[in-house]
């Protein structure tokens, strides 16, 4: 055999082997992270080894089908969020054929028009992959020309629409014109500055030594597992008052042996709303019900048209090309925010913030956050006016609900059946931060102050220790327009 022929055979063989490996990883099984076309945005990196969470189309689907399918998966996780936002640009606004001329400008029927994944080099805050002045596409001509509709907007540039605390593409619940007018004269701080839901009565607990002793006398834990401090802590908890016994978590079913370290499934069995909201945020999204499971080699081969693949081949594929299983919870090692050096390796299970036997509201609402987070805003919390209010309330010097913790703003509560229910999606009032205005800020502050404060990066960094140095004019303009209406202006 001539040397060139041998080299050709070797080249072809290696090419086929390489192509086969890539093909198998793409369409059958195996770790595909090496094939990522680019880093994902936001917290989506937690899903990177579960490609089918977003990429649900069958192999070789058409471009149109791919686009339709991938956009459908955005709503899998974000649908409730968009609904709650009373979305200003919902998909349904753009599907009507009369909007066809807009499809060529910014196609509002698809999330991926503005949020394209795996493109870190062009991804802006809010996971935006269009240029920041994208509003110009639809609001600069004809009936929609905002510069003609609003005298106040005549000289504004389109890169300021969504970057100045005035407008958001999706969520304008606290920014729409009539709301600005309605709350335009509110004082910066209410006379009775209290978070109403935080002032609700707490569930009953055993308080006296006799009540605790009576509870412990009837407890059903194995004698050798009952640490005295744990028992005392538990007896004084709301869990104990609600008749949750030791076995309720450590041996939740009759045929399951006692375990000293229950997994967090026992928490979510009872705390379903909290578990659901936790899985919607960055801390808990690994637990979202819709994250794809590892691929099944047999099903993958069947989808490719090989219905009766030999069992031996399937076993071999699963042995050597099995998909990695996503960890049940993220750890702080995977976080892409500033964390303390000693926080690494921390798992984000329920017990990271909630001690299993002892109730510590101060730790769950503040301490746990500051154990990990090390950005300016977090470091400035202790000593801030909000923290002072919390200390005063704890000391009995402030009314119930007057303290402001990390959780007050980032995990706000709502009333349910007379008690406070905590939203465990720590991102729900962020992205953009104006989402925080109505459910949180306006419990104590006026709308104008809240808009100005949240648009002031320096004030956010020092955890609101002072007054805003910026003023957003949207309320002024809205009030002026009510006093002297511009006839024919758009709503």
């Amino acid at each position: 055999m001539k040397r060139n022929t041998a080299l050709w055979i070797l080249w072809i063989g290696l090419t086929l082997m390489g192509a086969g490996t890539v093909f198998a990883k793409l369409y059958i099984g195996g770790d595909r992270s090496v094939l990522l076309p680019g880093q994902t945005a936001g917290a989506h990196h937690q899903l990177e080894i579960a490609c089918e969470t977003c990429h649900t189309s069958k192999p070789f689907a058409s471009q149109a089908k791919l686009r339709k399918d991938i956009n459908k998966t955005c709503e899998t996780c974000h649908k409730d969020e968009l609904k709650a936002a009373d979305d200003s640009h919902p998909k349904k606004k753009f599907t009507n054929p009369r909007m066809a001329s807009y499809w060529e400008k910014v196609d509002g029927r698809f999330c991926t028009t503005c949020h394209s994944e795996h493109q870190p080099e062009v991804t802006l805050p809010m996971m935006l992959t269009l240029q920041g002045d994208y509003c110009v596409a639809c609001h600069s001509e004809g009936e929609q020309d905002i510069r003609k509709d609003r005298e106040s907007h005549a000289d504004l540039t389109f890169d300021t629409c969504a970057s100045s605390g005035c407008h958001n593409y999706h969520d304008n619940r606290a920014l729409y014109e009539d709301f600005l007018v309605k709350h335009g004269q509110d004082p910066w701080l209410a006379d009775h500055a209290v978070i109403p839901v935080a002032a609700l009565p707490a569930p009953p607990r055993a308080g006296s030594a006799d009540e605790i002793a009576a509870y412990l006398a009837a407890v059903d834990a194995p004698a050798n597992s009952l640490d005295d401090q744990i028992a005392q802590d538990w007896a004084a908890s709301a869990h104990a008052a609600a008749d949750v016994t030791c076995s309720g978590c450590h041996a939740p079913e009759e045929d399951i042996a006692w375990t000293d370290h229950p997994d967090q499934g026992v928490c979510s069995d009872c705390h379903k709303p909290q578990a659901k909201s936790f899985s919607g945020g960055r801390h808990g999204m690994r637990g979202h019900a819709k994250i794809s499971k590892p691929r099944d080699a047999k099903k993958q081969l069947k989808a490719l048209g090989w219905k009766d693949a030999p069992e031996g081949l399937i076993t071999a594929l699963e042995t050597y090309l099995g998909d990695p299983v996503p960890p049940a919870a993220m750890t702080t090692d995977e976080a892409r925010v500033e964390l303390r050096d000693d926080a690494h390796g921390q798992g984000m299970e329920c017990t990271a913030c909630h001690k299993p036997h002892r109730e510590e509201p101060d730790f769950a609402a503040i301490g746990a956050c500051l154990t990990c987070h090390d950005d300016d805003h977090s470091r400035a919390y202790e000593g801030s006016p909000h923290h002072d209010l919390w200390l005063a309330e704890q000391a009995g010097d402030g009314p119930a609900g007057s303290g402001v913790t990390c959780a007050t703003c980032h995990m706000p509560q709502e009333e349910k059946k007379g008690f406070a229910l905590t939203n465990h999606n720590q991102n729900d009032t962020l992205r953009p931060n104006e989402k925080m205005i109505r459910p949180v800020c306006m419990s104590c502050h006026g709308l104008g102050f809240a808009i100005d404060a949240l648009a002031d990066p320096a004030l956010i960094a020092n955890n609101f220790s002072g007054q805003p140095s910026r003023h957003i004019e949207s309320i002024d303009w809205a009030l002026k327009r009510v006093e002297t209406p511009e006839k024919g202006a758009n709503q």
């Binding site: 599907t95 009507n96 009369r98």
Partner: protein
Amino acid sequence: MMKKLTKIKAAMLCGAMAMGGTAAKAEMEYQQVSDLLHLVMSSDRTVYTRMIVNRLAVKEGVIKASEHFEDDKALVLPAQMFRFGAEMVAEETDAFSYSLLSLWPINKQNAPSTDLEKEGLEYIADNPGENFYGEEELGGVTYFTAFYPDVAVAEACTQCHNEHKDSPKTDFEGGDVMGGVVIRIPMDG
């Protein structure tokens, strides 16, 4: 006005109208289908406007009707009730779509956005009592498009439009054509 009317299989649109196996096979003209759809829309809308909004918000004054009905704990405006229905239909089918448009919209999103919309809305405003039918191509699809006058059927209609700060026309009277219901049906092909 479109003279030659093409046919559409009734079964595609009129499942609710089908009466037994034979009706499902019948064919109806686009215009007839559109007229029937409009009859349902118009009747429901008029009932809501007269018997709910006008009675409770204008005559008896026991509750407000507000564009921000959730914040104000108020009744949904008739135009919003109509739009929410159209959006719900759009989530279920693309066999037809409908909108409430006007030459004098409070919300400029509801101003005419295609040449045919402008022509149709002007025709029904200039010819009270008449409808307008046409064809247009949007996004690569040809549509049968019908325009029906939307008439001020109650005091609530004229009062709200005449007093709203964003209304370009403030002298509506009862019985005036205030805009039009536009129904689109994609044609075969």
